[in-house]
């Protein structure tokens, strides 16, 4: 299969099950909601070292938020159920609570699995905190110097999919970067999907484990490193000198598939030799995204 001259490999992206929460941050202005979201999602590229993966899902119109103010929707993901409350408490406590004028709401109200967050953060109020039950949901009002921080007591948590991906194999780094940027731009703002790496793009794709260390969980994906083409079992075709990866996490497989379709299409262009995907022979995760099926 070719799209505008770019070869689509007959392979699949292999993804794994994660747990996701959606956090709605509102503020006096979109600027301040963005500030909080930027900090909340900082250093959250990969669970390998960051313990969580997070990104801005989309920006919200005041009509879409619980308190009628501008907001940002953040998808927040961890590998296990037990990790979620810890990560949310420490991150919301340090990044959203501290940010002027913000409030923090659950973006998955219909999900039955609930994680206690506000009920821990309330202790910052040192006994001056107060709660309100509105439409069956409890909110905590924590007094702060600027006024009050409002945070929902519990956040919904559901199964999600992490590690959807595709790789862009290009003749030059400039072409690879332009194609990856176009792909991210095409996929950005889609509800239910985040791209947790810087600018949505990864240059350091990894393989499971390491040749030289037993303690390393992941190490460089030498099969796709152009500089190692001559000395390793390379999967880089002749003429390819740069590879960039797009990693996608989503609330479900359909969300990832929809985004991949747009992203791959946007990346196909002159100078991009092929599009492939990372997989581990089906051993890593149960979610498989077949490129040709998606683009067919």
């Amino acid at each position: 299969m070719r799209i505008r001259g770019t070869f689509i490999e007959d392979t699949f992206a292999e993804a794994f099950t994660m747990r996701a929460a959606r956090i709605i941050i509102t503020a006096h202005s979109l600027t301040w909601a963005r500030h909080a979201a930027t900090k909340l999602t900082g250093f959250a590229t990969s669970v390998i070292q960051c313990k969580c993966e997070a990104g801005v899902d989309r920006e919200l119109d005041p009509k879409e938020t619980p308190d009628g103010r501008p907001g940002v929707s953040v998808l927040f993901m961890t590998m296990g159920k037990d990790d979620m409350p810890k990560r949310l408490i420490e991150r919301i406590g340090q990044t959203v609570l501290t940010c002027p004028t913000t409030a923090c709401f659950d973006g998955l109200p219909e999900v039955p699995d609930r994680v206690a967050v506000g009920s821990s953060l309330k202790y910052f109020g040192d006994g001056f905190q107060a709660s309100k039950v509105i439409n069956g949901e409890r909110f905590w009002r924590i007094p702060v110097m600027e006024g009050e921080f409002l945070v929902q007591e519990k956040f919904g948590m559901q199964k999600a999919v992490g590690g959807g991906n595709f790789l862009i194999l290009a003749e030059t780094v400039e072409t690879a970067l332009a194609a990856a940027e176009a792909a991210v731009s095409a996929m950005a703002g889609r509800a239910g999907v985040i791209m947790p790496f810087p600018g949505g793009i990864v240059r350091s794709g990894s393989k499971v484990g390491s040749r030289t260390s037993k303690t390393m969980i992941a190490s460089t994906n030498d099969a796709f490193c152009p500089t190692l083409r001559a000395v390793t079992a390379s999967q880089i075709p002749e003429g390819v000198n740069s590879v960039l990866e797009i990693v996608l996490n989503g609330l479900d497989g359909a969300a990832i598939e929809g985004a991949m379709r747009l992203g791959i299409d946007a990346a196909c262009r002159e100078g991009v030799r092929s599009i492939t995907a990372g997989n581990y022979g089906g051993k890593l995760g149960p979610h498989h995204f077949h490129l040709r099926k998606i683009m067919g």
């Binding site: 409030a103 107060a130 309100k132 509105i134 909110f139 009002r141 006024g147 009050e148 409002l150």
Partner: protein
């Protein structure tokens, strides 16, 4: 399951105890059972009437109840209600929603005294649910409320929110004298002018972050007439009652 509709046959001439009108209890009753529920009227205090004598009753076995007619002399509607929905098209008399535990009551007209009140001698009144009166209400609204949301679209008589333990009372008009007196916790949101009792002290003027949620809920779920300026406006926070715990608040909307 269709809703139960009670249509008043004729205007009540005397105070009448309608505390049998409780949606969650109606859920198990047939139309005949509903019609036989006892009702006490001041016109004949020793002889019980039947609910069916006063109301034409449609439907059965439902916790969603509509009452049509002017029940300003009907007392105790929704008393100790635990769930369901009670919609009244018209006025209600005193003691509506006394000691309510859950569910919703919506009244399109006015309410009498002791709306959302407490049972005599009880340490706490309403402990859950939502009561919305689009018109005005009498004295002692939400007395000793422990939890829940009460909204009065118009003004209230004296001592609204007296002795509240927690929960939220929103008054769209002007609360009468003594509003908020003796509250331990909880919020009295006054959209009309209010003179806080002596036990309150002005804390600050700010935008309480929970108020938009509460007022938006009242607008969207109950059709309360609230403006964007009220939903997103500034409020003066008076903390009190300092003669009690002092963890309560009167939030006074700043009109300008």
């Amino acid at each position: 399951m269709t809703d139960i509709v009670l249509t008043l046959r004729a205007a009540l001439s005397h105070a009448t105890d309608l505390s049998c009108v409780v949606p969650d209890r109606f859920a198990e009753l047939s139309n005949g059972d509903l019609g036989n529920l006892p009702v006490w009227s001041a016109a004949a205090p020793r002889i019980p009437l039947r609910l069916g004598d006063l109301f034409a009753i449609e439907g059965e076995r439902s916790s969603s109840v509509h009452v049509k007619g002017d029940c300003r002399l009907g007392e105790g509607l929704g008393r100790e209600m635990r769930g369901g929905r009670l919609d009244v098209e018209g006025n209600v008399g005193s003691h509506c929603g006394t000691a309510m535990q859950g569910g919703t009551i919506r009244v399109t007209g006015d309410a009498g005294d002791h709306l959302a009140g407490a049972l005599p001698g009880a340490s706490r009144g309403v402990v859950g649910g939502e009561i919305v009166v689009l018109g005005a209400a009498g004295t002692w609204v939400a007395e000793r409320m422990r939890r829940g949301l009460v909204y009065v679209g118009g003004s209230t008589g004296e001592f609204a929110g007296r002795g509240m333990i927690a929960g939220t009372l929103v008054v769209g008009g002007r609360p009468g004298a003594g509003a908020g007196q003796g509250i331990k916790r909880g919020s009295l949101v006054a959209l009309g002018s209010i003179k806080p009792p002596e036990g309150f002290r002005l804390a600050c003027t700010y935008r309480p972050p929970h108020v938009p949620l509460i007022l938006t809920r009242l607008k969207t779920a109950f059709g309360a007439h609230l403006t964007d300026a009220q939903v997103h406006g500034l409020y003066r926070r008076h903390s009190g009652d300092l003669a009690e715990l002092g963890k309560g608040e009167i939030l006074e909307w700043c009109t300008a």
